[in-house]
Amino acid sequence: MNEGLVVFVRSIIAFFSLLIFTRIIGKEQISQLTFFDYVLGITIGSIAASLTTDLSSRAWPHWVGLITWAALGYLMEIVTLKWRYASKVLEGEPVIVIMNGKIMESALKKAKYRISDILELMRNQGVFDPNEVDFAIIESNGRLSILKKAEHLPVTRKDMNIPAQNTGISTELVYDGILIEENLRQLNKDKDWLMSELKAHGINSISEVFLVTLNPEGSIYIDKYDDHITKITDIGDYKGPF
């Protein structure tokens, strides 16, 4: 028995099984994970690890464990998606901990949060004075959402009656020296237009540029490979290895 080879094959099985199962379970971001999702992830990862290296038992029972946990995770996701009540029971619901500037002690106790935790979460959001807060809500993923009192909210263009234009999302036209013709077509532009824009910036070939983007307003961003910057700012506070 070649143990190294067996571990190698089992690693491939665990790796791709995990990849397939996690893609099926869903694509929530880490920041959106509830505590249960977090524990589910750790458990599935742990089962995959023992599938890889625990040669004292067959791969099959570990794999059954892996697929069962993944299937139950998927089932929970479907249930919480379709059934609002179950979602509240299983994933929890947002808790208002500050209402009209007043701390809700009973809600805090119920959510098992100390006021020092709330103050810390507020500081993480850039709020250092509880006086500024009108509403604070602990979301089901444990993050704190804050609504500041009206007098502490920043002035907007609307308040000042300044006309605003939609900025939209920039589209990549050249990425790493390669023209993305599909994006050009979507914006009703062609290669000749792009070349004339590049020429206006003193660029003769697409291969000279690292990135070109265009926003809906028609503003173009161009970055060349050759940046002509001789003095590069070093933000390191000590001399590193490189």
């Binding site: 028995m1 070649n2 143990e3 080879l5 067996v6 094959v9 089992r10 099985i13 791709f16 099984s17 397939i20 893609r23 040669l55 004292s56 038992s57 067959r58 791969a59 099959w60 794999w63």
Partner: protein, 121 residues
């Protein structure tokens, strides 16, 4: 076509993994020449009972070689412990044969058979 591949590739991968993990029970069975573990064990027990020690020596070597072939086939789906326990039983069998100890040799062969039958179960 792209959508088909997105479903077909993971599905084919899972089927391949299942085949690798569950093939042990089939692969431990005799598939070619000189890899019939239960047949060799049965024949060895008979020769030991008849005290045909020359034949026993030769068949023990055959059993050793057959076991190596089977291990190579089932290693990805089998548990290491059963493989090691079979190896230990085989080593003890060789010692019992050296001393022409009928009782111990048959005990070890019976144990080896049990490990073989429990392999990939």
């Amino acid at each position: 076509m792209r959508r088909f591949l997105i479903i077909a590739i993971p599905l084919a991968t899972i089927i391949l993994f299942l085949a690798v993990m569950l093939s042990g029970n089939y692969l431990k069975q005799p598939l070619g020449k000189n890899d019939d573990i239960p047949g060799l064990i049965e024949s060895l027990i008979k020769d030991i009972q008849d005290e045909q020690w020359e034949k026993v020596n030769q068949k023990t070597e055959e059993l050793d070689q057959a076991w190596e072939k089977v291990v190579n086939r089932v290693q990805f789906s089998a548990e290491r412990n059963e493989i090691q326990d079979f190896n230990v039983a085989l080593a003890r069998l060789k010692g019992a044969i050296l001393e022409k100890d009928r009782l111990s040799a048959i005990m070890e062969l019976k144990e080896a058979y049990e490990h073989w039958s429990q392999l990939c179960q």
